[in-house]
Symmetry: C2
């Protein structure tokens, strides 16, 4: 099934089921008011949502309305956890190579992962409002899973069973703030502003055969200012699958329902597939010519992130955002 959270003026919005073709939707308020509430009691709630979804997708919905991604908040407008891996190690290797550093061998054996801010997510059509272009504004197209409870010490196989939903992510990054934060060793804070999500989150069965081995086997398309700049395959070169990322995170603590874990920037070794973030293109340019050529995003730039299935249908709907100049304090949203 496909689930969305609609803007209604509240912090958590209203849960809706969305038809498979993303054309119509129906409020799920009789079942669960918010997606977090559904995840808090998934075994009980999910079958009811599934029934609503089937009726809706088969044209037997009641109180249906046109689905408008512009009315969507992030599926979880705020979450109790957002942790982002770097499963496409090719991306990490390129970044290192561009600055003349070797990739530690351990990076192929143990995931890199950072804890992100999760109190203020953006919806799929919300502006990316920031104060300064000079911060080096970049998009990062990713896939993420949303989990049920996972016990501390869970194996990848155990974690796999607790994956409830998938979504697309734009992990907006401020490239020029990153070097100083990396040097401190304490991870990203100012260099990762609010993260954006696709209009709908979907259960794994919506991906049919494309959900296999804990990976999504479909290309992820990034279109920057109307130009397709990347369509790397999310099932290729993903060194750590989602269950492995989850087990890594669960080593010393429980993961609780509603946690969102990202894949990191989707990246293929075959550079003809293009890029899911500008930084990677700049690395390739640096390796080839000694210096980056492509600039980061400017105010007014747009970014569209989408994943099509084998039939060319949009699975998650599109993230489609414009970078804007934020006003002084308070301009963030």
């Amino acid at each position: 099934m496909k689930l969305a959270t609609l803007k209604d003026g509240t912090r958590d919005g209203q849960l809706a089921v969305v038809a498979r073709d993303l054309k119509t939707a129906q409020l799920a308020d009789g079942i669960a008011p918010t997606l977090q509430r559904a995840l808090d009691d998934w075994a009980f709630i999910a079958p009811q949502l599934q029934q609503l979804y089937q009726d809706l997708s088969n044209g037997r919905g009641r109180r249906t309305f046109d689905f408008d991604p512009a009315q969507c908040m992030a599926p979880l407008p705020r979450a109790y956890q957002w942790a982002d891996g770097s499963a496409y190690v090719n991306h990490v290797e390129l970044v290192r190579k561009a600055r003349g550093a070797e990739l530690p061998a351990s990076f192929w054996e143990e995931p890199l992962m950072y804890q992100g801010g999760s109190d203020d997510f953006l919806g799929p059509r919300d502006d990316i409002a920031l104060f300064h272009e000079e911060w080096g504004i970049d998009f990062e197209a990713e896939v993420a899973v949303i989990t049920d409870d996972i016990a501390m010490g869970a194996t990848p196989d155990q974690a796999y069973q607790q994956i409830r939903l998938l979504a697309l992510v734009n992990d907006v990054s401020l490239r020029n703030l990153i070097p100083d934060e990396l040097a401190k060793g304490f991870g990203f804070l100012q260099s990762k502003p609010a993260t954006s999500f696709s209009p709908v989150a979907v259960t794994p069965d919506e991906l049919d055969d494309a959900w296999k081995g804990g990976k999504v086997h479909l290309p992820l398309r990034s279109t920057w200012n109307g130009k397709l700049v990347g369509q790397p395959h999310a099932g290729v070169d993903m060194i750590f699958n989602f269950p492995q990322l989850l087990a890594h995170l669960a080593k010393s603590r429980n993961i609780r329902a509603g946690s969102i874990i990202g894949s990191g920037t989707v990246s293929n070794k075959d550079s003809k597939r293009g890029y899911s973030c500008i930084a990677e293109q700049r690395c390739l340019e640096t390796i080839a010519g000694g210096a980056p050529v492509t600039p980061y995003m400017a105010f007014g730039d747009t970014i569209r992130i989408e994943m099509l299935n084998g039939d060319g249908k949009s699975v998650f709907g599109a993230i489609e955002q414009t970078v804007t100049r934020a006003d002084a304090a308070g301009g963030g949203k």
Copy 2:
């Protein structure tokens, strides 16, 4: 006022007001079911809770019961944000000195801060259940603030106005997992298991004159296995006050209601005040004698963290935890 969250079998528990002397309590369910709900609409909810609190503290409460910290969850059993500063730079300097590294000058001018996991907090009397002593189990006694909404770009003065509550924190750390994670530069993940909180969170006015300049001017007492090992003064050597920590976090994103921001390990230059984490004592031993002497915590060890006001009364109640060996997967709680 003083607020607690009582265990009731749900994920978010039940909000209660607690009398100033921490002896009695009363459910706030007629006003707000959970602390997050109160923070979501603080201007409207807080005055009602305050009235309940005044009646209770003056012996005019109804449906009151004995307050039992063992029945407490963390004031926010799960939160949308937990970010922890290192405001007591003396602590950072000692750690560096012990390993022969200089402290970058910038550390005195800009806060270190990491994004922590916030989906699974521990109550004040919950066991610290972990798999291996070899991970180097340590406590970290801290003070934290809980905020209302703070807009991106807020100044310290603006952020100050949005501090709603204070609490004590045990930021449990796995010292032997930290070096590898610091080297990766992506911050703490496995090395920071579930964080623990004091029985009650209190509004700043409960601290009277001890809340001044965005700092808490009281000693923080840490008692390890029944022995008082530290009582550094939280108002001394705090290089960045809470408003400055908040402004640092808000540089490129909004902070939303219910965010928890920590001070980092409370630490004084005067080492006679003792320590708020074992790592610091081990650093002093290393600097003095070339090697650490004091071991980290063992299964069965206890840690008590408390703050007394000028009259010798407990402000937040005591964190009082035992380190235990977790079972295989699922033993986390």
